[in-house]
Symmetry: C2
Subunit: 191 residues, 2 copies
């Protein structure tokens, strides 16, 4: 069972290194990305949207060229475990999701995914084994077209910057005469 | 000049592989993360907040255990090129930022950072050379305390899930009797 270009055990090592643990969501996520890529026309430039903000994002970053920092991976939170891989200019793409009907066959995965047992009491070893056995068997693919407003612009305009008169740091001038932090949107206090 | 545990050329290889290019922001970002880590008390469990959504996020993901998918890296957009590395429970930490006064000495970096010349006309080779020469010389560190509402909770409550009666996918029940996508928050059309 391969995940992208990796054998399952290589992928487990990789996610331990990058994500910090072999979380079930990272394993399911790996197979999800793999299935999505296999259903995309070859050679396309694509972007990815994750419908959840956790594990899945890291699986995308490890298995595709898309990262949060290069802007080719975005999160659009719908609370569902799903990804959309699509042509960044036309929006044509595929969405891979967990198919609850197919999940009936995979009892251990269902315990984890549907939270049938409290997380602290789940048998993680058993869940991981079944995730690797199942691959993407409990997932489905649908064709989608990503809406215009979420597509990449072919030519991005360079945005002017300025030094904020209050904090003296550089910010995008479009935010007004002070940076957003000095306008009150700040997560910390100086000490 | 080292960036985290990497020599500059190793780091350049790493970012080309992960981020897709040796973007100046990834190089400045690497030194920024490195400076932050060197100013943090050793052995602390920390989280990271990026004040911008681009390059910098990938530098954090490559040089610390914090990723977008494991939840230890977050974005809090203020339009400024800065990171906050902090104790995830107490909020005590450091903020590293580009110090515009110190930047005067580094003309090529300033051309890039202040967008003094249109991006298409910048001499990227020269900028990258100076970024590597300067290291974190044009950055400053300030002590901060991250606000209570952005800190990690010691014990997270497990949230119940349900199958959405409309799309039949699993979602967090706290969003109501349908998932957020079926409630209208959806980035695609099925085709």
């Amino acid at each position: 069972m391969k995940i992208g270009k990796y054998k399952a055990d290589e992928y487990l090592e990789l996610i331990k290194e990058f994500h910090g643990s072999t979380a079930p969501g990272m394993i399911a996520g790996g197979f999800m990305v793999d299935l999505g890529l296999r259903n995309l026309p070859e050679g396309e430039f694509f972007d990815v949207i994750c419908e959840t903000s956790h594990c899945l994002m890291d699986a995308v970053q490890l298995l595709t060229p898309c990262t949060i920092g290069n802007g080719w991976l975005k999160s659009f939170y719908t609370s569902r475990f799903a990804i959309i891989i699509y042509n960044k200019y036309t929006g044509d793409g595929v969405r891979v999701y967990i198919d609850t009907e197919k999940l009936e066959k995979w009892k251990d995965i269902k315990v984890w995914y549907m939270k049938e047992i409290d997380k602290t009491k789940q048998d993680t070893g058993k869940i991981i084994s079944q995730l690797i056995e199942a691959g993407s068997e409990y997932m489905s693919v649908m064709k989608v077209k990503v809406k215009e407003e979420y597509l990449a612009k072919k030519k991005k305009k360079s945005q002017p910057v300025a030094v904020c008169p209050s904090c003296k740091e550089v910010y995008y001038l479009k935010f007004g005469d002070k940076c957003p932090a000095c306008s009150g949107n700040i997560p910390y206090d100086a000490v």
